[in-house]
Amino acid sequence: MSNSQYDVVIIGAGVSGNLIAKELGLAGKKVLILEAGPAIPDSREQYMENFYLALAKTPESPYPSLAGRTGPGVGTLPDPAVLPTPRATVLSIGGTPDVSHLIQSETAGVSGTTPDNQPEVRELQFSSTYERIGGGTAWHWLGSVPRLVPHDLTMKTTYDVFYDWPIAYSEMQRLWGLAESEIGVAASVAQQQPLQAAIGMTYPPGYQYPMGPIPSSVVDQTVSNGVSGMSVPGEGSEGGKEYSVFVTNTPAGRNSEPYQDRRVCAGNTNCIPICPIQAKWDPTVTLGDALNTGNVTVSYQSVATNIAVDGNNVTQIDYLKWSYDDKGNLQSTPASVSGTIYVAACHAIENAKLLLLSNGQKGIANTSDQVGRNLMDHVLYLAWALAPSQVWGYRGPLATGGIESLRDGEFRTNRAAFRMEIGNEGWNFACGDPYTTTLDFITGTNGSQLNPGATRLGGTALVNTLNDRLTRQFRFGLLLEQAPQPDNCVTIDQNNKDGLGIPRPHVDYGFDKYTLEGFRVAADTCSAIFQQMGAEEFTQPTVKPYPPDKYPDGKTMGPGDFNYEGKMYHMYGAGHIMGTHRMGTDPDTSVVDATQKSHDVQNLWIVGSGSFPTVATANPTLTIMALAFKSAEAIKAALGA
């Protein structure tokens, strides 16, 4: 055992790291958090100003564009090779290595077949992004906190595909309860009741959410009325079975009443990129609690480079403490710190990178050879339409309702399930509105598809036309289950390094038939619902075709596009990066155990959504935090607390 001043050294100040720090700090243990990125600002006003001034209001637009430097980074794509903490961003992802932190060889899907003659698409753009700043990626999480359904944990047992989770549903219910209290979840058990018959969702007797639900939007109400009595038929061996389609209020990590000294939601419609009033829980809330225990210290601008091991034990973390000198030059100083227990909490891609880089790049915690593999996302299918009457989007939290009833069924033997999120931001996600449609009707273009006549308008005619179109816009975002595939993986790219000289992550990514079949049904289901509602669909299968001058061979597919059975699709990232150090009971096939402790290294926990052995269809943050509670309990026990 170490005689260091720290009981626990945590790498990463995000959802998991901060929660574990808080729990250990409350138990009287001394904790150090090494955070790669810059400190949390005293006020979020600077982040808001960055957001207001950003031309492209992407998820990362409020946050430091050059880590450690402040001020707006409008329209710049810095070279990751000069940054201390480059990260994947919406504007840079899929780009060449001089703009994209993640290295990918190709980005438009290549359709083919596997050796056993199953359809597949390879070389797809991995489209999800993450932050490397104090507070982590959940600065810009959506705030939706649905629980998993029981069969999500037993895919092998129930449907004979993939893996079972090593945790029972009853135990997850206990852990979700802890997480819902920490976050302050607004929801009603009674409103979730119809999901018991549909997908087996249950709660322990007498369970109540910390606060009442967030009211459903006019958009939700319109979809709910529009699908009244609707069902979709099962396919193949499920012929004759009908799956009912209905809207459910979504449990939310935002306040419907004051909680933890934070305000109620004012419907800023900006959960992503940033809630201006912190009505939505984020990891800085929990970090504040952790620091208030008096037992937790954070070292910012400290990038872990090596988890040093001696046999089956971590002995120290080597890291680089970086800063900019007054001439703006990046400087770094090597340092090391030791503790009794170590926690890697850097999110799925950076966790994998750090584990693979450690021990002189021989890697650690990897007897299973699964570190970095099974990279998954809730690949997102986006479908958009004009409702037959006004629904007034662009109001309220970004999402308040969804269709949950298609998240489970016998079909999961053959294809991906999905949860359907109903958006409250018109076509903002779909086509950059209200900007695109406004430009169309003023300058006579048709980027939105709503101005096919290239009309130019002004005055009252402009107001009335835009009002009609904008207030009828709505969209569905479908979170598709993705199969765990060993060849979807994060590796180390020796040819591309960051500003500290650390090799960057290389990503190989694609879809197997299970995921592709999910896309097919997802698209058909959205179209059927739009038709049932009397809505006019505008979904586009190709979003950003390659410019002809760059691909003179006539390539028409763009990043994230792919073809399946002769039909074009576009996939988006959900921002849910999962699976790179999966949990399980068998050390031969998994990296961590049910508490997220490494099978190989006795005093190392590897935490976060990288531990998910399967991803199911629920937004992951609630379950990330639930698992972090379980880790904190195990670490406390190991320390004899």
């Binding site: 808001m48 207001y52 409008v74 006019v218 800023n268 419609t269 018109g426 430009l439 005055g459 107001v463």
Partner: protein, 150 residues
């Protein structure tokens, strides 16, 4: 002129008490981008027809009857002025050298397209908890000239 082009009440665009003074900010910004002469020419055209109904003024300044792409640079300046009001950003008219940019944070938080959608700029809501579960107030409450106001 901006009231006619945008379809909003002039008292909404330039309130009696106006610490933000966006109309002056936008005027100065556009002049810096396209030059005083181009702005003066547009204003002179406006002054010659300013007694006409608002929609007629807008249609004339924007040359809406001329096929898109064939309208004059003066009409394209009028488009850029509407875009400043609606989106808070400068979109350089064809043939000018400026950079597309958000003019200021207040230009964003007061941009009018959100009023046209009967909503609020994303990230800047003055509404209160739960408003989204009910239909919004009418367009006149959002400053739009619906026939009564000037």
């Amino acid at each position: 002129m901006s009231a006619a082009l945008t379809g909003f009440q002039s008292s909404f665009l330039r309130p009696f008490l106006d610490p933000t003074n966006l109309s002056e900010v936008f005027y100065n910004f556009a002049v810096a981008q396209v030059g005083q002469t181009a702005m003066d020419n547009l204003l002179n055209t406006f002054r010659a027809i300013q007694k006409q109904p608002a929609q007629q003024i807008a249609d004339t300044l924007l040359e809406v009857k001329i096929p898109t792409g064939k309208e004059s640079s003066q009409a394209q300046l009028a488009q850029a002025i509407i875009l400043m009001w609606y989106l808070g950003s400068w979109y350089p008219p064809p043939g000018t050298n400026g950079k597309q940019q958000v003019i200021s944070s207040q230009a964003y938080t007061k941009s009018l397209v959100w009023n046209v959608a009967q909503s609020h700029p994303m990230g800047f809501s003055a509404f209160t908890f739960g408003y989204w579960s009910q239909p919004p107030a009418g367009l006149d409450a959002f400053g739009v000239n619906t026939g009564g106001g000037q």
